[in-house]
Symmetry: C2
Subunit: 143 residues, 2 copies
DNA sequence: CTGAAATGTAACAACATCAGTTACATCAAA
DNA sequence: TTTGATGTAACTGATGTTGTTACATTTCAG
């Protein structure tokens, strides 16, 4: 499976902002976050823009600009982050429409689709069990 | 997420072979299966080769060649198929090693890894609930 | 022992996605 | 007005997926 790291980087960024604010700072810059994640600031800004659209982060422009959390870490689950940054489903049906004359070709799409819905639901339920507060706590405990 | 259709096509192929054998035929050819799936026979052969490696299918060469199931449809779950054709995990950690000087950069990898393990487990448990016999039954009932 | 029909597999093209990067317009506080 | 950050388009390189062609290999039938 072509796994991507958007959920990882997005969770990392939000957790970093949360800790930074908790330490008394107003805003976090994409450059600071990028240093911690070890990537380019534009990658961070692109992801945070999606998180802002989902109501998880906010940005200020101009001098003294940067990013803040829109919600407490304890109210943001990994499912929220997942939904903000992962558009598509995990499994895809056929690339080309199968042969409708064939019984299997005709019926298997909806059947597998139902199964895939169940898989997505299980995946989401699992992600919903962890908040970013949990993540930060475990991170600090692991130090 | 870059969803692929390998699980779909592989399940389709195995179900097709199962039904074909149940109707009294010895072997199924990659061309017949490809017609039902609406793809190229080589795509089917590549996937079936992986399924053979996993002990789910077998092939005969030469004249009168083709594919057979190694196990009954009722003993093959979608998890078996998933494990045969999907190598990687669903979520990836960081593309580049994060900053180890940073508390978050240092600790978040293992924490998210644990969460991702749970997600994978939930996904697998869900896939394990459905056998190809279930799929075939639902396909035939939907006709 | 030869031909036919299928698998086995390499090689390549087309397309999409992801991560990284550069460049630059835009904005707002000091 | 300067400054330091965001906003965003555009491009690159790497990689993965699907489809396709080509051809060697295998084995049965006759």
């Amino acid at each position: 499976m072509s796994a991507n790291s958007r959920l990882t980087v997005a969770a990392h960024a939000l957790t970093w902002i949360g800790l930074y604010q908790r330490r008394g700072h107003e805003v976090a810059t994409s450059e600071q976050i990028a240093t911690s994640v070890n990537t380019n600031p534009v990658v961070i800004r692109r992801l945070l823009a999606q998180l802002r659209k989902a109501g998880l982060a906010d940005s200020r422009r101009g001098a003294g600009a940067g990013w803040t959390l829109s919600r407490e870490l304890s109210t943001i689950t990994l499912l929220d982050v997942y939904e903000a940054v992962e558009p598509g489903p995990v499994f895809a049906l056929h690339p080309a429409t199968p042969d409708h004359e064939c019984v299997v070709g005709h019926g298997i799409g909806p059947v597998l689709g139902t199964v895939y819905d169940g898989v997505e639901a299980a995946l989401r339920a699992e992600l919903a069990r962890t908040t970013l507060e949990d993540v930060l706590r475990d991170v600090l405990n692991s130090a």
